[in-house]
């Protein structure tokens, strides 16, 4: 185990945002310089998180480590409180990893590069901030801060309908954020009325840390119906981000219109913010409501898996298909986080990580099609395999991983989640095993049409992957296989956390 660097989390948190203006200024000299600098920053950030993981004490993964605590607005219980436990650590690693892959894969961005990388680095800080903040107020600030760069990234560098998609994304998530904030306020207020202390510190609100020597949890102060409403509001706020099915309509637009590297961030990280919020905040804050609403939410999760799966079947646009497969996979995350046993929760966290890698890869491939073949319509991109063998190879691996082939990452997650769901609900959720079948349906069909279709002759020159793409694709593929073969890398980090979580809240 390595020694932690002093202020390690703060450095990880603020390195990108402080580098952002430098990247902008470098980009003013020459656009490419911003790119090289951003890659360097993302790489340093990635190495720092790897160091963080190595210095992390796995045997105490249920406790906050690397905690940093400073007063910010103490009168209102607002503190700068950051730390990582098993769950946060996994998400932070995913963030720095996908950011690195996405920033390397941004080689097709040629317009206004300095501004692009400025926003990109700003976004990386805000996402990491979401995953390591343990003061709800700080959490909210980072949560909202993500929206600003993301809006611009979609609206400036996106596809033809980018402005519509960007504003739709913004409205949806902002409404979710405000509902969430109001719920936070309510919890904070109830806590104050009963203890006389203003605090937004999550661990105090859920009774893991004492206030004036006594442990008090918000949930114990709430009558049943108020608790249900509060949980519902929190779940609503997070469900928009996940997205859970009736609230998902922003996602296909945003994912399809966003430039590919940004789709990677959207699918890989922004959706995870929703799943993370449910596990980190909604359930611990009001566990009794989570237990009571477990069955309705399970049904919503099943709806997610199947509705999005069926819609994915008839998508003509490859990127849209991947976007719907994202929604379908996120159903697994919601299912795993709510059924309340260790297997399912581990599966949900595993799925968050695996889905980030797999869909990141698939979105990057969709970007390659768009850029090299100038279309993403499945029928039109089919038949060029002889000219783009590498892309096709990665597509097959990514697609197979996406449908949950054993030996690849998503399988572990689906298996664990379904196992856990059976443990809790028995045969009532038998239908869930058809979820992977459905994803096999749309994914294999798409692969068949794209890779194995009758060969066509291209009109112009068709290029295969270039070096930056090969690098980022290889990193992702390697990890997909590694996690599929040896899932313990991840489950060991989360083991303590999941056990503690289940024993305490379910």
């Amino acid at each position: 185990m390595l020694q932690p660097i002093p202020y390690e989390l703060t450095i990880i948190l603020f390195l990108p945002i402080l580098s952002a203006p430098i990247a902008y200024l470098l980009g003013m000299i020459k656009g490419r310089y911003a790119r090289y600098f951003a890659i360097l920053v993302a790489l340093v950030e990635f190495l720092l998180t790897i160091h963080l993981a190595l210095a992390f004490d796995i045997t105490k993964a249920n406790e906050l480590q690397f905690v940093e605590f400073y007063e910010w607005v103490p009168r209102f219980g607002i503190y700068y409180l950051v730390g990582v436990d098993g769950l946060s650590l996994v998400m932070v690693i995913l963030t720095s990893l996908l950011s690195l892959a996405a920033v390397i894969g941004s080689n097709h961005i040629e317009e206004r590069e300095s501004f692009y990388y400025f926003l990109f680095l700003l976004m990386e800080t805000s996402i990491i901030g979401v995953f390591i903040s343990f003061n709800l107020f700080l959490f909210y600030i980072f949560w909202e801060l993500v929206l600003v760069p993301m809006y611009f990234l979609i609206a400036i560098w996106g596809g033809p309908r980018r402005k519509y998609a960007a504003i739709k994304f913004f409205i949806y998530t902002h409404v979710g954020g405000v509902v969430m904030l109001i719920s936070f306020f309510y919890a904070y207020w109830v806590y104050y009325l009963n203890t006389g202390v203003f605090t937004f510190n999550l661990y105090q609100l859920i009774g893991l840390e004492p206030v004036n020597g006594t442990y008090a949890a918000v949930a114990t102060f709430l009558p049943r119906n108020i608790g249900l409403i509060l949980f519902g509001a929190l779940f609503f706020g997070f469900a928009i981000k996940v997205p859970v099915v009736p609230l998902h309509t922003w996602l296909p637009d945003a994912h399809v219109e966003a430039p590919s590297p940004i789709s990677v961030i959207l699918a890989g990280l922004l959706l995870k913010m929703g799943g993370y919020g449910i596990i980190r905040i909604a359930i611990p804050l009001i566990p009794f409501a989570a237990k009571e609403l477990a069955w309705p939410i399970t049904i919503l999760a099943l709806l997610n898996i199947f509705y999005a799966g069926f819609v994915a079947l008839w998508q003509a646009d490859f990127k849209r298909l991947v976007a719907y497969s994202s929604i379908s996979h996120m159903g697994i995350v919601v299912l795993g986080s709510i059924v309340g046993n260790v297997e399912a929760l581990t599966g949900a966290i595993f799925m968050m990580f695996a889905h980030g890698l797999i869909n990141g890869l698939l979105f990057l491939i969709a970007g390659v099609y768009k850029h090299h073949l100038h279309t993403r319509i499945i029928e039109e991109i089919g038949g060029y395999t002889p000219y783009i063998p590498l892309t096709s190879a990665f597509l097959v691996i990514g697609g197979l991983a996406g449908l949950g082939l054993p030996g690849l990452a998503a399988f572990v997650a689906e298996f664990l989640t379904i196992l856990g769901a059976f443990k809790t609900w028995g045969l009532r959720v038998a239908i869930v095993v058809f979820g992977p079948v459905l994803s096999a349906g749309y994914m294999l069909w798409a692969i068949q049409r794209i890779v194995f279709g009758p060969p066509k002759k291209p009109h112009g020159e068709v290029k295969d992957l270039c070096l930056p793409e090969i690098i980022s694709f290889t990193i992702l593929t390697f990890l997909i296989i590694l996690l599929g073969v040896y899932p313990r890398i991840l489950t060991d980090i989360t083991a303590q956390f999941t056990q503690f979580f289940i024993s305490r809240y379910f």
């Binding site: 910010w72 209102f76 600003v148």
Partner: protein, 471 residues
């Protein structure tokens, strides 16, 4: 004789002296502008210094509450002065507008530093009459003169209502001093009906200046017609004075009958912010949009009067909001002026592609729009947040909830400006052109302040906490 204690009364002499001097200089010398500029800056800086070391005078009371507001006003004027000189450099003689703005800010200081109703009215009138003339300073511009006329008529009605209301209150309580009025009201030996009618009429008069909704109709026209630096003065200082007076009068004199006026203000606050925000959504011109947003922000501030209670946080938040609103609106109006110099119009659609022409102004405007919308962690977020939190602490969660919903609505019209600047492409070709230094300097200073206050608001909050200890 050595003056050991600087009474605040000397501030009057400082300002009247400067005003006379600038006018005389202007008469004697055609090219006195730079000198007048320096003199006016010195006068405001001197005024701020006075606030720091001054003590109560014979007339004026310099408590922390007064210090905070007078400080906000003087600082705002200090920031506005470069923009005012840039904008009106060739329009008229410098002594005129320098004298007017100094006289006006002197009026606001008198209004906030007195506990006597007569003095409050005197300060109020001095501030108002000078600002009528300021609005119409471009005499040959028809829109400007029309705005001045409209402002004058409405302002006169407002002042009349204030006079009338106060005379009724005087009739009911037989006292002009706020603290004595409070004693009389607490003892209960006064004409209840007369006093209540007086309070209502007084509130209506204040409502004109504060831009509360049924009395707001003049705002968009006047804000649009006035020169931008004058508009920013109206939004920052004039409105701040109305608010300072309202808070002092209601909290110091009428607190014992808060059951009577608090619900009225609560309802007015809801109407004002909702109406202001909805109307701002459909505006095509930048200045009109900012004017309506100013009305909406008056609604947020009004929560302080609509939710009185044991916790002072709501008043602190509202005072904080007067400050941040002043900063944000001064920046926005001055930046809008700079943009108008470049594009020739004031349409929000002409902000398209502004980033290429004026990158610095674009960045500042973006930060201000986000701050006005209440995006954390910027100064505008904290002040709004304190208001809402204070309302909740005093037991008015509904008021806070409506405020939050309004905040969400407001984001859309602010975001439209940002979208035009950064996302849309300009139909015209443009080369990078800076804006005048007189506009750029205030924008830069205030942008930095908004960022700094956003990241670390605690020290300011502690100062404000002291200022409301008098209630």
């Amino acid at each position: 004789m050595i003056i050991t204690q600087l009474s605040i009364d000397y501030l009057l002499y400082l300002f009247i002296g400067t005003i006379t001097l600038t006018l005389v200089l202007d008469f004697l010398k055609e090219k006195a502008r730079p000198l007048n500029f320096v003199l006016s800056i010195l006068a405001t800086v001197g005024g701020i210094a006075f606030l720091m070391i001054g003590v109560d005078g014979n007339l004026l009371v310099l408590d922390t509450y007064a210090k905070v507001f007078a400080g906000i006003f003087l600082f705002s004027v200090l920031i506005i002065l470069p923009a005012l000189y840039s904008e009106l450099w060739d329009v008229t003689r410098s002594g005129v507008f320098t004298g007017l703005i100094l006289a006006s800010v002197l009026g606001t200081i008198i209004a906030v530093t007195s506990r006597n109703l007569i003095l409050i009215v005197v300060g109020w009138e001095l501030a108002s009459i000078s600002s009528y003339a300021l609005v119409g300073i471009r005499r040959r511009d028809k829109i400007s003169t029309e705005a001045a006329m409209k402002y004058f008529l409405v302002g006169a009605v407002g002042s009349g209502l204030i006079f009338f209301g106060l005379s009724l209150i005087f009739g009911a309580t037989a006292s002009l001093d706020l603290l004595k009025i409070a004693e009389v009201i607490t003892s209960g030996t006064y004409d209840q009906v007369l006093a209540r009618v007086g309070i209502l009429i007084f509130s209506a008069g204040i409502g004109f200046k504060l831009a509360i909704v049924p009395f707001h109709v003049w705002i968009p026209d006047v804000y649009e017609g006035a020169p931008n630096s004058v508009t920013s003065y109206l939004a920052a200082v004039s409105k701040g004075m109305a608010f300072a007076v309202a808070i002092r009068v209601f909290y110091q004199a009428f607190l014992p009958i808060k059951e009577f006026w608090a619900p009225i203000f609560a309802i007015l606050a809801i109407i004002t912010m909702t109406y202001g925000n909805l109307a701002a959504l459909v505006q095509e011109k930048m200045k009109r949009m900012l004017a309506w947003s100013s009305i909406a922000h008056a609604g947020y501030m009004l929560i302080a009067l609509g939710a009185p209670g044991t916790s002072p946080v709501v008043i602190i938040g509202a005072i904080f909001h007067v400050l941040t609103h002043a900063f944000m609106k001064i920046t926005s109006f001055v930046a809008a002026r700079g943009v108008t110099d470049i594009t020739g119009t004031d349409l929000i659609d002409d902000y398209m592609g502004l980033r290429r022409i004026a990158p610095g102004t674009s960045a500042s405007l973006t930060i201000m729009m986000l701050s006005l919308a209440g995006i954390p962690p910027l100064a505008g977020f904290w002040s709004k947040y304190y208001i809402f939190l204070g309302a909740v602490e005093n037991g008015y969660p509904l008021l806070a909830l409506i405020g939050v919903i309004n905040s969400v609505i407001s984001l859309f019209y602010y975001a439209r400006v940002i979208k035009n600047i950064y996302v849309e492409e300009s139909p015209k070709e443009g080369v990078t052109r800076g804006i005048k230094i007189g506009y750029a300097a205030p924008i830069a200073i205030l942008t930095i302040l908004v960022l700094v206050l956003g990241i670390y608001p605690t020290p300011l909050f502690e100062i404000l906490e002291k200022s409301v200890a008098i209630f």
